[in-house]
């Protein structure tokens, strides 16, 4: 067992968990944040992407002890007072959501990119989302959403 102190979506959390748990399990099973999804469990699909200390990470590849003192952001943090973030809005406008299973991971990878680089090129967007698989959309509306969000950020 391990005692963990970290911050999730702006709230400090202190929790004792089995030290073999992954960040994904802690979020879903211990904290009830089920917006983060498990698609493969081996860091290949990106459905479980969250932002940890400013970086997009596959939460299925992060072990409990790595979470110690970390700052974690999940999809549940994007919508504030029932107002969607600009990025979510862009996904909505571009019809980027089909089955929705990859969506939350896509949002978090995109947010991590835009937090660091508010004006990415098309190649930079593609590279940032390379680790997020989507089987439904063919990626077209997702890439368009991020491009749109860039415009929205610029005109805020």
């Amino acid at each position: 067992m391990i005692n963990l102190k970290f911050n999730v979506n702006g709230k400090d959390v202190e929790i004792t968990v089995d030290d073999s748990l992954r960040l994904l399990d802690i979020l879903r099973d211990e904290l009830g944040l089920t917006g983060t999804k498990e698609g493969c469990g081996i860091g290949e699909c990106g459905a479980c992407t969250v932002i940890m200390n400013g970086e997009a990470v596959n939460s299925c590849m992060i072990l409990a002890e790595q979470v110690q003192n970390a700052k974690v952001e999940t999809v549940e943090n994007l919508e504030k007072n029932e107002v969607l973030s600009k990025l979510q809005d862009a996904f909505l406008d571009n019809g980027a959501i089909q089955c929705g299973f990859c969506t939350t991971g896509m949002l978090m990878s995109s947010k991590a990119l835009l937090d660091k680089n508010p004006t990415p090129s098309e190649e930079e967007i593609k590279t940032a989302l390379e680790g997020n698989l989507c089987r439904c959309t063919g990626y077209v509306p997702i890439l368009n959403s991020v491009k749109d969000a860039v415009k929205k950020y610029l005109h805020k």
């Binding site: 917006g35 699909c45 999809v75 549940e76 969607l84 909505l92 980027a96 929705g100 089987r135 959309t137």
Partner: protein
Amino acid sequence: MKSIRKIDAIPKLNGSWKFLDDYSYKGMIHGQLLYSTCHHGIIKQIHFPDGYDLSEFTMVSAADIPGENIVPEPVCDQPYMADKEVFHFGQVIMGIAHPNRKLLREFISNTSIEYEELPAITDIKECLDNEKNAFGRELTIDHRTGKKPDPNWVHHHKIYYTPHQEQAYLEPQGMIAVWQPKDKIMFVRATCQCPFFVKEGVEAIMGDTIKEAVIETSEGIGGAFGGKEDFPNLLAGITSLLSYKSGKPVKIVLDRSDDIQITTKRHPARIEIETWTDPKTKKIMKIDIDYRLDAGAYQTLSPVVLARGVLHAISGYSIPDAFIRGRLFHSNTPSNGAFRGFGAPQAFAAMEAHIDNIASDLKMNPYKFRKINLFKIGDEFPTTQPILEDHLSNCLERVIDKSNYSKKLKEFKEWNKTHKDKKGIGISIGYHGGGYTGNGEKVLNSEVKVVIEKDAIVKIYVSNTDMGQGAHTTLAQMFFEAIDHPREKCRIQLPNTSKTPNSGPTVASRTIYIIGNLLRKFAFKIKDELGFENLEGYVASNQNEFPREFRMNFVQDPSVVFDDENYVGVAYKDYSWAACVTEIYYHADTYQIELTKSWSVMDIGKVVNQKIATGQAEGGVLQGLAYGLCEFFYKPGYGRMHGFTDYALPTTMDLPEIDVEFIHNDSPIAKGLGEIPMDFPAPSVRNAFHNATGIFINEYPLVPERIYSYMQRATDRHRQTQTV
């Protein structure tokens, strides 16, 4: 053609939409499947690891089944769990449950099974090249004239191979069963396409021990593409048995590696085509197709895929003398099943490659050769079904025009003369008959239900699921647009077999085509029956009539008359049509094909929701291109695959520019959309590669390893010619 926002979009964006693994029930324990790691053998013994308290586990095997150990399918030949003999890698032997999922995983991964190994067929060619492996009913379409081919006609005889393809829904297969002993009801929460199939599956395995199985889907179904058509029946059956035996709710969610190893895939095919072409008119005069599918260890729903395959085998060409023979072949791999297109992508992969092979031999432009042979109004399918529209030709003309095909063909030829890397451009066409084949929709007799509440809220009850394709948004839209009712007053209920009538499975591009058009008709019927102009006003002034329930059944058009025995007649009332042009850049040093741009033009009839339809089309086109380019199982029998590490799905970095356009969208009828975008793109990649390099590859996908071996052979042949 309005782009109404998807009803589930916001909860999917904020993470609140619940997928199967997001549900939990009081006292719930976890289940997992123990499956065969042998391709064919007799089970000698199962060794459980030491150090575990076996009394904590619930275990079920074939011996525990109170009902039938046969999964209900079009052909009932697959057991839920193997009894003594296993016939493929991944065959389920036991269901095991425990409160701790992690401990259960450890326990199962340390369990070993001893087999007496028996001969097994795991290689696609070993399966499909040997006539002895044929099993099940043979289908033939016989449109022969009985005349011998003219000796002047040019004969082409080729064999084409297509691979397994993984549906790769991002949400793995999962099921929760909750046994309710008081009412003798087995409640099942499912991520599935066909709740009523799952109901049959649970009731078959449980037999008389339960009164009824009630299936409700999860809110979110994280992709399916055919993969959640029949496997969920088996999974629900075993999960239910575990819940019954343990007396607790049981959840099974497959690990990705288990999912890839044990669930259904697209059928590999071997398609042998012989044609005779008149060199003067450039018309194909006679064709003979031997269409073979690797069904896997059991037939299950393969006959349905075979039917689709033979009915689309000739592609879009009028050939006066045609014979098509379709057969299933047995191998020791998991039963192959439904996957978007089901039989048609294999057919077009072969025939569209064959067309380019003939055109090249006759030194003709592949577009012009297609144009000469393409279906024309008044022609017939080999089943004698008349061709009533020239929309396929319209799609082809449009895509040739917008892709600048003819200009690029010349440009690339020039460019290739001076470059080691090559550029290429290729065409393919396709079509897909909407709904079940022949008399299928009559037999299904789909029913829909609508309840109008006192506050004029319209609740629509259908058993068709929304697995991401936006079906629930589009279905509701078809109803409320017909009677001009506010969209926020129209709701689709979550499919539940005790509340929703059986409107059939969510398969075969039938949801919008059959159920959507039915709902539209239904809306008009209710309007006529009640005699309102405005539903809200009517409900307000006639409160005592509400809530009120309405039901309506689908009635097949009388023109659909099909002889299922001889495959003669009208197989589908309406077809969606498509044509595609794909441009590639071939990297000579790495033997890699880079897709640069792909244009698709489709006729899906009325486009109900432009944004949803475009999204479906773009996603399907990429699946189709990847089927031609990179997706395959490199291990025979594909056992011991680990997931997306060894199965290469396209990522954002592989994405070409994709352009899709719908034509003839002023039609009153919305036709099938689900399958068509997957049906046709693969051969355009192959044909573009041939255009770039002059090398014919008649096997898919065109991965670098395969290209390398073909290039080596071509070099060897060239060397030999020079030596001679």
